[in-house]
């Protein structure tokens, strides 16, 4: 028996170099925090999903972009560590009885970074721009949304629905804890503490974010003291921890999967896809390529999110895979596309191709985003399982449920998605960050992004 206690996020390893030698446990104001990230967004607008941070379109909603959005913008609602919806820019909300209308009362006294007050009109305009299919209007001090989306409250807590004041010069203004000082798209972002932040000015004076840095460059920057917070590749997490660095890892919030871009076209193709799914040796891939990080999965949602993830088999079954393969005449070759900027992706693709070959399938790995079969890393959109599943469905071009009642409906939806054979789940991966010892009280959110609103820099940490 192995009790599983998943919290929203787990600090898997906090290798603190040493205790503070003085009175430093209360947060200190001041300082500049250097951060390095791999993503290189071309826009700061959290609703702009058209951009491509990498070759993989799933990365348009990368953890880095979520983190950046949280620094500059607020949402109407937020989700706490237990997934419960909490007030943010909306102080109260209610469903209008007998309709699909929701009313959200907008917080008073909140200012955008340009000094303009937050109003119901600006909030409504922001949500309309991010969700063209929603009917959103301002009504006195409230925003009224008409939507059949059963997940509306959780949707409003997503970074993509942050309240943004969009101006004609294409410089989005937010109400978040930090304001933009300098923005060089894809390269560099300079932020300063927003003195009038409605939740209280952040402790840190400024954040300097270098974008587009490889994992290796990020780790070098941390070691040289040029960055205090960096991302860590999943396969490097264990080594970083063993090196005595401060490492924080989330719950598994990223799905690594094989994704077919089209539906099954024939009975033969169905058998071949089954054979491919049965051929992948997830356990040994985890042990070798992922260095023991991540959880092998046969389901789309991680178990901590659904509670039933373990029912999907994960073990390879090569005899059965061969049996399925042998029922099909001919030997088609699939191009297995992967993200060429991700060194782990190439290794994984090659290993999956080897496994497939053992089952009699031909896979040809290639660093291309246009292949019919792709190895993808999908950041799960939310800790809310319905939204997470809908996000994967959207990416895979699959329909999703409009309403739902309970965990059995969720299971049925997931089983239905898997039955299409468009997605072959492989692993759920955590997101890891390494930080300098002087950086205190930064937090990992349940969605794998980081928050620096409460972070502070110890002045003399030894």
């Amino acid at each position: 028996m192995r009790p599983i206690v998943w919290r929203w996020f787990v600090v898997s390893s906090m290798m603190v170099a040493g205790l503070a030698a003085g009175a430093e446990t209360r947060p200190q104001y001041g300082g500049v925090l250097p951060v390095a990230l791999r993503a290189a967004p071309a826009s700061l607008d959290p609703a702009d999903v058209s951009q491509n941070d990498s070759q993989d379109s799933a990365q348009a909603d990368s953890f880095a972009r979520r983190s950046l959005a949280g620094l500059m913008f607020d949402t109407l609602l937020s989700a706490d560590d237990n997934g419960r919806i909490q007030p943010s820019l909306a102080t109260a909300w209610q469903a209008v009885p007998g309709s699909q209308r929701w009313q959200f009362r907008v917080r008073r006294g909140v200012k955008f970074h340009d000094g303009a007050p937050l109003t119901a009109e600006t909030a409504a305009a922001s949500l309309r721009a991010a969700n063209p299919s929603w009917n959103v209007v301002a009504d006195a001090d409230s925003v009224v949304i008409e939507s059949s989306d059963a997940n509306l409250l959780a949707e409003l807590a997503l970074p993509r629905n942050a309240i943004v004041k969009r101006t004609t010069d294409n410089k989005p203004s937010g109400t978040g804890p930090f304001r933009v000082v300098d923005w060089q798209p894809g390269k560099r972002l300079s932020l300063a503490a927003w003195e009038d932040y409605w939740r209280g000015r952040p402790f840190i004076d400024a954040i300097e974010i270098e974008l587009g840095k490889s994992f290796r460059d990020q780790m070098s920057a941390l070691e040289l003291g040029k960055a205090d917070l960096v991302e860590v590749a999943p396969e490097q997490a264990r080594r970083v921890s063993q090196d005595g660095r401060r490492l924080a890892s989330s719950s598994p919030v990223e799905l690594l999967a094989l994704l077919f871009t089209r539906d099954v076209a024939s009975a033969d193709e169905k058998l071949l896809r089954e054979a491919l799914a049965l051929s992948v040796e997830r356990g040994s891939i985890r042990n070798v390529l992922l260095q023991g990080v991540g959880e092998p999965t046969g389901g789309i949602l991680p178990n901590w999110m659904s509670g039933y993830g373990f029912v999907f088999p994960v073990d390879a079954d090569l005899p059965r895979a061969r049996q399925e393969r042998e029922q099909v005449r001919g030997r088609p070759t699939w191009i297995l596309g992967y993200d060429g900027s991700d060194p782990l992706a190439r290794l994984l693709a090659e290993r999956i191709a080897l496994n497939a070959k053992d089952a009699g399938l031909l896979l040809q790995p290639a660093a291309t985003p246009t292949a019919e079969l792709r190895l993808v890393r999908i950041p799960l959109a939310s800790p809310d399982p319905w939204i997470a599943l809908a996000g994967v469905a959207s990416l895979a071009g699959l329909p999703t449920a409009k309403s739902h009642d309970g965990v059995e409906d969720l299971y049925a939806l997931e089983v239905g998605m898997l039955a299409t054979q468009r997605v072959i789940p492989l692993f759920h991966l955590p997101v890891s960050y390494a930080s300098a010892t002087r950086l205190e009280s930064w937090t990992l959110r349940p969605d794998g992004s980081f928050s620096l609103a409460d972070a502070w820099l110890a002045s003399d940490r030894q």
Binding site: W93, Y308, V311
Partner: protein, 436 residues
């Protein structure tokens, strides 16, 4: 469809049921009693009967009544005791719908039940296999009961903590306004209000609540103090705002924006009040520290380094002040010199006058940088000379200590902790106990 909700800005307050411990001796008895009671309370908070019946009905709707081979596996954080209770309940529920338990060879179906969980609830999953057909999966979800933490009491008796109040919103300070062996009337300060509670009919009942008016957003790491007064009920000190309760009835709270100094030494009434000179310090209105400006000052010294907290130790001919400065050092100021020391303390310290040891002790929080995750601790120190000597074992707290202030009488302190397990804020009275 999820239930429509209209949230209120102020979550419900919940009085800690442990807060009515009368004396320290009673506290010890209560701790001993609790160690027996807690497991039964935990067992009681979850009623598993309904989901057991529900899952049994779902299973029988797939397999039909008859002989089954049953396995149950706990894959959740349920305790061993709860696991046993649920397994027995499931077996009874399955028998109630016509199931018989047999060996694998005799079974018409196998049923594997997994007690799992997600972030919102427990998820009980049953995999039902009949012959060579694919397994059918049914499941029920069970709302998770709020977690409870067991109180852990350290062995040494030098420092004792007594739970006063627990609530979801951050507590800035708690003042005991009346007591009769145990507190009977308290004030609780949080970011937006002062609430008065009176112990009546065996429980805390809210007496009055006063909103705090402030024009500017509060700074992060908000701090505040409640000071009971002689001629009126109390004063409230917050960054840039001071509130004073009205004299006489009806009770009201009048707040004004001001940078007037906060009292460092409590000057409340009572038999044990401190007979040392009053000292005020200016608090930065947009920060979490005192600016270092003192009034009237330590002798001629009216400015010290910016500091988070202060403690005082009367000497024969002078008063030694200790300031936990924002630079991470402890500054020892006696009016003649300002010595800087790196002492392994946290940011919060204060003084208490007792009948133990040298008569005055400094209570200091731990320097543990990771206290948010691991919990905090506090220790009592004396200063025979200029170096601190620990005179008590560390007392543990279930989370980081967010506030530490000496109470009005001067012989005890209030510590506020954010419980790392429950996320709630808990206020404790901390006392030094002699001869243990």
């Amino acid at each position: 469809m999820r239930r429509a909700a209209y949230n209120l800005g102020i979550p419900n307050l919940s009085a800690n049921p442990l807060c009515r411990v009368l004396t320290l001796a009673h506290l010890l008895r209560a701790v001993a009693l609790l160690s027996f009671l807690l497991p039964s309370v935990a067992a009681r908070v979850s009623d598993w009967n309904e989901p057991e019946q529900q899952l049994a009905r779902k299973i029988v709707s797939v397999s039909g009544p008859g002989a089954i081979f049953l396995t149950v596996e706990n894959r959740s954080s349920l305790s061993k005791r709860d696991n046993e209770i649920i397994q027995n309940g499931l077996r009874a529920a399955l028998e109630g719908v016509g199931m018989r338990f047999v060996t694998l060879e005799q079974a018409a179906a196998t049923v594997a039940i997994y007690l799992s969980e997600n972030t919102a609830s427990y998820v009980w999953v049953a995999e039902i296999r009949q012959g060579s057909a694919a397994a059918v999966v049914v499941m029920v979800s069970v709302p998770r009961a709020e977690g409870s933490t067991s109180a852990r009491e350290p062995v040494p008796l030098s420092l004792r903590k007594i739970s006063l109040w627990t609530q979801a919103d951050p507590i800035l300070d708690v003042a005991v306004l009346e007591e009769n062996g145990a507190p009977t009337h308290i004030a609780v300060l949080d970011a937006e209000k002062v609430a008065l509670y009176r112990w009546q009919a065996g429980k805390w009942q809210q007496e009055q609540m006063f909103g705090i008016v402030h024009a500017r957003p509060w700074p992060r790491d908000l701090r505040g103090r409640l000071i009971p007064a002689r001629d009126h009920l109390l004063d409230v000190y917050l960054p840039g705002v001071i509130c004073r309760s009205a004299v006489g009835a009806p009770l009201a709270l009048n707040c004004r924006e001001t940078d007037d100094p906060w009292p460092l030494v409590p000057a409340g009434g009572g038999a044990g009040s401190i007979s040392i000179p009053l000292m005020g310090a200016f608090f930065a209105p947009t920060r979490n520290f005192f600016t270092g400006a003192l009034t009237p000052g330590v002798c001629k010294s009216t400015t010290v380094s910016k500091f988070y907290s202060a403690a005082w130790l009367p000497r024969d001919k002078y008063l030694l002040w200790l300031f936990a400065a924002t630079d991470g050092h402890v500054h020892m100021v006696d009016g003649v010199s300002d010595q800087t020391a790196r002492i392994a303390w946290g940011s919060d310290l204060t003084s208490v006058k007792t009948s133990c040891g040298a008569g005055w002790q400094v209570l200091a929080t731990s320097p543990e940088a990771n206290a948010e995750e691991t919990g905090d601790s506090m220790r009592a120190y004396e200063f025979p000379d200029r170096d601190p000597v620990a005179v008590s074992a560390a007392i543990d707290f279930p989370g980081m200590i967010r506030a530490l202030w000496t109470e009005a009488k001067g012989d005890t302190a209030i510590a506020v902790v954010k419980n790392r397990e429950t996320g709630s804020y808990e206020a404790y009275r901390v006392a030094v106990v002699c001869s243990q």
